[in-house]
Subunit: 173 residues, 2 copies
Amino acid sequence: MEPVRILGLDPGLRHTGWGIIEIKGNCLSHVAHGVVDTPSDLELAQRLTHLYKGLSEIISAYTPDEAAVEETFVNKNPTSTLKLGMARGVVLLAPSALRVSVFEYSANKVKKSVVGVGHADKEQVLMMVKMLLPVLNSTIMRADAADALAVAICHSHHRQIHSLTRALKAGQL
Amino acid sequence: MEPVRILGLDPGLRHTGWGIIEIKGNCLSHVAHGVVDTPSDLELAQRLTHLYKGLSEIISAYTPDEAAVEETFVNKNPTSTLKLGMARGVVLLAPSALRVSVFEYSANKVKKSVVGVGHADKEQVLMMVKMLLPVLNSTIMRADAADALAVAICHSHHRQIHSLTRALKAGQL
């Protein structure tokens, strides 16, 4: 069975976490992770460009087969929601423009997949990600990157359902 | 004096209006306009890709020197605001990724520039755009494209102030 690479993404205008995992049969393994930070002294359009180019480079370097993005929390503050929306638009675009299929998961679904409950805190997610992808135990990992790896893990749990649904829709089953 | 080409953009996930004008001394002229419509049956990431590729093609074809984008109206409905934000992120990114400087103007500023008052309706904007860029009198123009041309006209009025401010900041004056 060919290994499948998943790119997980946790969007934010300041910090977008990313993480790549590989699935081979029932085994998950860590490939890489990091955070794209956008310099806050740049103008908005330039920050979005910085984010887009950063993600495009990561996608070109690691050639993931599929991407999974955490659904954005809709804030009560409309200005924050608008900013999050802009970052999210660019984060969805980057893989899609390079022909990588994008899947979306709510934060609750991601937490349930990784920690077992929907209302886990950042620390629990970080700890579980490190346990599920053991190579990382010793490395220092930022919460944004851990969240991105958690989205990738969540997608690895759900992707079989997705492929079945698509095959059903296409009349192949 | 070299003519300067301005791309005006009115962002929306369904319909993004665009318009190109040329400034030569004190004269404005119409170059082109249109609307990028994204098919609503596509998934979100694919719609954003459609929008991004459409705008990138327009920018490559008409090589504008500067771009101007209407600031997004922050909706009371957070889900709509998030969608607008995503489209807006892609609309700001497209020129910036191709090294075209992007400027932003509030809807009020745009209307004041074109109609003279901040609370003009769509019909008034459309009528004034057709008057200011007379070649268009006879063509059928969608409101989104007229709004985009209005942003470009607004930028043509403000760009001298922008260049002065930048020169001052750079210590050239």
